[in-house]
């Protein structure tokens, strides 16, 4: 192994790649512009949908209640909803989104209430439909008020004060600093994106430097040089790794810059983000800290980048080896394309709520990385798992690199016809 040779090959490949539009797009443009833009658009659309749903005055159909005119009157006078008579096809109307909610008031509701019974009001809605969910929220708030009034009336009749039914108060107070909350909220997403970009960043340079060179006839030219094969592989491999790591770094810098410059606008604006998070059901309003929005611990980001390096080596070596086998870039693309699914699948499992780092999940490649990064971004540093996952990633990476060197020395691969 001769570092002069490796550096010569690497610098040539770097210069060559910087002049290649397709490599620049996959390594710089997509991570820098497209990813943050995607989030911006996604965030804006989500925030706008949530805002629209909030502004929507839900149409509420009442089923029954004819024998409880006072309840009906209060429903009709309630603000924030439009009450209509229920037609026979109210279920279809909810499904067709012409009706948000239907409320079934049981027979003799008022009379049974007076008699001390506990009648149940049913609220029919369309689960997952944002405006219908908003209608439920409005109706539930109204019914809660109606129930409180009933309780207050009963307490007054018994000569008891209002506080008799509410002897004490309680409220939540968040003690987690914003970066911990940020880690919990976005901790799954950041490693997922980093891992995905590491792979896609390695893909194009790997194809160009191997199958592309074979296809263009420059591989044979290069093989005529007296440089040992291992030096050629390492020089080229370092370029693929540069592509992989660059994609990750550009994405992080661009995302951080977007947040710093545009503030929370990246994810749809401050209030929008908050409402989007609340509406997504990921977190209830009291859990969101007052004041500044949740942030991600910078130390966690550094930790994630360090953990991702051996995986970037693994991806670079794998993409290099697989592409090397192909005769053309098109063929290499058909091999590497499906590999994205193999990368996404275990990584995306880490984003799922409730998925924790355990002795079992720590053994699953990529999922373990996704989970340990999620923890690091939340400020949890489980050193035994970190060491184990980093070590195993290094072993996989070393094996993949060894395989790449072996493949480069095989005539049937290099001169495959």
């Amino acid at each position: 192994m001769n570092w002069r040779n490796i550096t010569t090959v690497y610098l040539k490949e770097l210069k060559d790649s910087l002049r290649d539009r397709r490599t620049l797009i996959s390594v710089i443009v997509v991570p820098t512009v497209v990813m943050p833009l995607m989030f911006l658009i996604f965030g804006k659309v989500t925030a706008s949908s949530v805002a629209k749903a909030r502004e929507d005055v839900p149409t509420v159909a009442l089923i029954g209640g004819g024998d409880s005119p006072e309840v009906l009157r209060r429903f009709r006078e309630a603000k924030g909803m439009r009450v209509v008579e229920a037609k026979s096809d109210w279920r279809d109307a909810i499904a067709a989104k012409t009706l948000r909610v239907a409320v079934d008031i049981p027979d003799r509701f008022a009379a049974r209430l007076e008699a001390g019974e506990v009648p149940a009001v049913r609220i029919y809605h369309y689960q997952g439909e944002l405006k219908s969910e908003n209608g439920v929220r409005v109706v539930e708030r109204f019914l809660a008020e109606l129930r409180e009034d009933t309780v207050a009336r009963r307490l007054a009749a018994a000569g008891l004060p209002k506080v008799a039914a509410r002897p004490f108060e309680f409220r939540r107070e968040n003690v987690a600093p914003p970066e911990k909350v940020g880690g919990n909220l976005f901790g799954g997403l950041v490693p997922y994106l980093i891992i995905l970009l590491c792979f896609t960043g390695a893909m194009y340079p790997a194809m160009d430097l191997t199958a592309g060179e074979k296809e263009r006839g420059t591989m044979e030219t290069l093989l005529c040089s007296p440089v040992p094969r291992v030096d050629l592989v390492l020089g080229k491999f370092l370029m693929v790794l540069t592509g992989s790591v660059s994609a990750m770094v550009f994405m992080l810098i661009s995302t951080a810059a977007s947040i710093l410059i545009g503030g929370a606008a990246l994810l749809g604006g401050g209030a929008g983000t908050r409402s989007a998070i609340v509406a997504s059901g990921a977190i209830r309003p009291p859990e969101l800290p007052a004041g500044p929005l949740p942030i991600i611990d910078p130390l966690g980001i550094v930790g994630v980048m360090a953990m991702v390096v051996p995986v970037a080596v693994l991806f670079a070596a794998l993409a290099f080896t697989v592409s090397l086998f192909a005769k053309s870039q098109k063929e290499a693309q058909s091999y590497l394309g499906p590999m994205i699914v193999l990368v996404i699948l275990p990584t995306s499992l880490g984003v799922l709520p409730g998925m924790e780092l355990t002795a079992g999940t720590a053994l699953v490649p990529l999922l373990n990385l996704s989970l340990v990064c999620k923890e690091m971004l939340s400020g949890v540093w489980n050193w035994s798992y970190i060491g184990m996952i980093f070590g195993s990633s290094c072993v996989y990476a070393g094996f993949a690199l060894w395989l790449a060197v072996r493949m480069f020395g095989r005539e049937e691969v290099m001169f495959r016809t």
């Binding site: 040539k12 210069k15 263009r216 420059t218 044979e220 030219t221 007296p226």
Partner: protein
């Protein structure tokens, strides 16, 4: 000097079984001479030359190139060989100067030596006007000159040409042929493979006819004519190939 000793290369094909790309090929090329390897497409020329350039490992036999064994010292052999083939292309996104410089560095030359050598080659090959132009913007002739410069940047004592005029126009082909002659005049050991009879007649001091991976005959043009009682090289070639049980393509 090149000395091939029973060079054999066997490929394994799932459908066709074992195929001999070259079988017991032996010949010797002295410095200052051009050895022409004449054969039809698929005769075994490229396989033989790739073994000499250490791109392929011989299955059996060996060759000594400029004093180094192709199997035992492939890196040393490559450092002493200039290999130019129709299939050895240029990096499209590099300039001609960068291309020459890259191969100079790969051959262990210093930056100062590369600068001096590039200037010398540019003048000799008339590359001055396009030296700093990207290879994908060069004409075929310019590309071929750049390839030649890339091949000889380290001034190797052995030159291997594998159908270097394939697909070239007359003027560009003449440039290549002229360069091959210059190599001989400079005392280099030259091996030149082609299926173009006229090139062999014009260039080669010794001709080896190869077919089906085997070297069928060897000698100077006059020796081959005398041996077969024919004057036309094409007729001699066809007789040899038909005698070996195959039709020339």
């Amino acid at each position: 000097m090149i000395e091939a000793r029973q060079l054999t290369k066997t490929f394994r094909d799932k459908k066709r079984g074992e195929i001999h790309g070259a079988l017991d090929v032996s010949f010797r090329v002295e410095p200052g001479t051009i050895y022409g390897l004449l054969g039809a497409n698929g005769a075994g020329k490229t396989t033989t030359l790739r073994m000499l350039a250490t791109l392929l490992r011989p299955t059996r036999g060996t060759a000594v190139v400029a004093g180094h064994d192709v199997a035992a010292e492939p890196d040393r052999v490559r450092a002493r060989v200039g290999f130019l083939a129709a299939s050895t292309a240029l990096y499209a996104r590099l300039t001609a100067r960068e291309m020459i410089g890259y191969f100079g560095r790969l051959n262990g030359m210093t930056d100062a030596a590369i600068r001096a050598r590039t200037g010398e080659l540019a003048e000799r090959l008339g590359m001055g006007e396009f030296l700093d132009r990207r290879c994908d913007q060069l004409s075929t002739g310019m590309k071929q000159k750049t390839s030649i410069a890339r091949t000889i940047v380290h001034d190797p004592p052995v030159m291997i040409f594998d159908e270097p005029t394939l697909g070239l126009d007359v003027m560009t082909a003449r440039t290549v042929v002229g360069f091959v002659r210059e190599c001989r005049a400079a005392g280099k050991t030259v091996i030149y493979s082609t299926h173009v009879m006229s090139e062999v007649e014009k260039l080669c001091d010794v001709i080896g006819v190869i077919h089906g991976g085997r070297l069928l005959a060897e000698g100077s043009l006059s020796e081959l004519r005398a041996r077969h009682g024919l004057t036309d090289l094409e007729d001699i070639f066809v007789r040899l190939v038909e005698g070996a049980g195959g039709a020339a393509k």
